[in-house]
């Protein structure tokens, strides 16, 4: 899903106010929290971080173009997942187990040997696997604080909020039925009045 084309599904958030002269520190913070490739020799199954809006392999951010003339900061979070599918791991482990047992002139390996072999096979397969790449776009209006995340997945939203708050040191709240009214100019006393409301029953026969 992309802001540039097609249909859009998204979640709305509200960020705290940005500080003055935020452009340079934000570029540095985004670079600090940039996407870093998953090390196939390690154990990490998922990596996420910021990438440049126009280049998924770059993480250099320019303070002079960070925010558009209309006050929007476009964000792109890259999430890579390197996970050997369970079925694949099982099949390769069974095959390796048979070969090893045959070489040792035995019928089968012990459970402990099989567990160790599974780890070995997993490491080998990880090096041959390609990480699944996911790109998630977001738009942050730094003037109003409104943020749109182009995803409706709860897991993606959690990951995004975590990365956003860590990077910019600002709280991000979901826009809901109450705070959207604040965004549209409701006064505190008007919002307080909502607390007294109870659900209406439209299906009752009118008097």
């Amino acid at each position: 899903m992309s802001l540039a084309t097609g249909t859009l599904s998204y979640l709305r958030f509200l960020a705290e106010t940005v500080p003055a002269a935020f452009e340079v520190p934000y570029c540095d913070a985004m670079h600090e929290q940039r996407f870093r490739d998953i090390d196939a020799d390690g154990d990490l199954e998922q990596a996420r971080g910021w990438v440049a809006w126009d280049d998924v392999f770059a993480a250099e951010f320019d303070p002079t173009t960070l925010v558009s003339a209309s006050g929007h900061l476009l964000l792109r979070m890259r999430v890579d997942t390197l996970k050997v599918p369970t079925v694949t791991l099982k099949a390769y482990t069974e095959q390796a187990g048979r070969e090893r047992a045959r070489a040792a002139n035995r019928d089968r390996l012990t459970k402990r040997e099989l567990d160790a072999l599974k780890l070995e096979v997993k490491k080998r397969l990880r090096k041959r696997s390609l990480a699944k790449l996911q790109l998630v776009e977001a738009d942050w209006n730094v003037q109003t604080g409104e943020v749109r995340l182009l995803s409706t997945s709860k897991a993606t939203a959690t990951a995004f909020v975590e990365l956003f708050e860590k990077t910019f040191a600002l709280k991000l709240l979901p826009v809901g039925l109450r705070n959207v009214l604040w965004l549209r100019g409701f006064q505190p006393e008007e919002l307080d009045r909502l607390d007294a409301l109870e659900p209406e029953r439209f299906h009752l026969i009118p008097a």
Binding site: T7, L181, L194, E200, F202, P206
Partner: protein, 172 residues
């Protein structure tokens, strides 16, 4: 807003979408907004009605014109309210189509009016402006409903009219 607060006001979202249906049907298909004037509201092919509370009961109506299907009205009569709908908003010559979830105000499968720019950057800018416009329309209609709903004097007659509307058969 935390989850508890979201749940506390979930009924307002469902009432809003139900009121929007009522307004669209009884006010020549248009809802007045402060910024855009009258916005033409139409419901698309899919409508989900649900009861509130912990034990949810739902009905999903899939039809060319779901508001004219008697099952939709029957669902209202059994205490269900609109939980999700596919909406079509028209303002001037622009048409926006999207799905709206009443409890979270999440917009899904948003189809924006055609943009003129072909280059990526201005195209995104143009689409962001259209999204701003769409959100403002939805929020303003919701704010109008909430103002009405929280004014006991103004709301009473509307509620009674809505009850009569629910009890009446769907328009032919």
């Amino acid at each position: 807003m935390n989850a508890a607060a979201r749940d506390r006001f979930a009924f307002l979202g469902r009432e809003f979408l139900t009121w929007l249906w009522f307004e669209a049907e009884t006010n020549k298909g248009a809802v007045d907004t402060p910024t855009f004037g009258p916005v033409r509201v139409d419901f698309g092919q899919r409508l989900t009605l649900e009861t509130g509370g912990n034990v949810r009961e739902g009905s999903t109506i899939q039809a060319e014109m779901p508001l004219l299907v008697e099952e939709s009205r029957v669902a209202l009569r059994t205490g269900k309210k609109v939980a999700r709908a596919r909406l079509v908003l028209e303002v001037g010559e622009r048409t926006f189509q999207f799905g709206l979830d009443a409890e979270s105000l999440t917009l899904a499968q948003v189809k924006l009016p055609t943009v003129l720019s072909t280059e990526d950057a201005p195209r995104v800018d143009e689409r962001l402006l259209l999204l701003d416009e769409l959100e403002a329309m939805v929020d303003e209609m919701y704010a109008r409903f909430v103002r009405l709903r929280s004014d006991a004097k103004a709301w009473g007659p509307v509620r009674d009219e809505m009850r009569r509307w629910v009890a009446a058969p769907a328009p032919a």
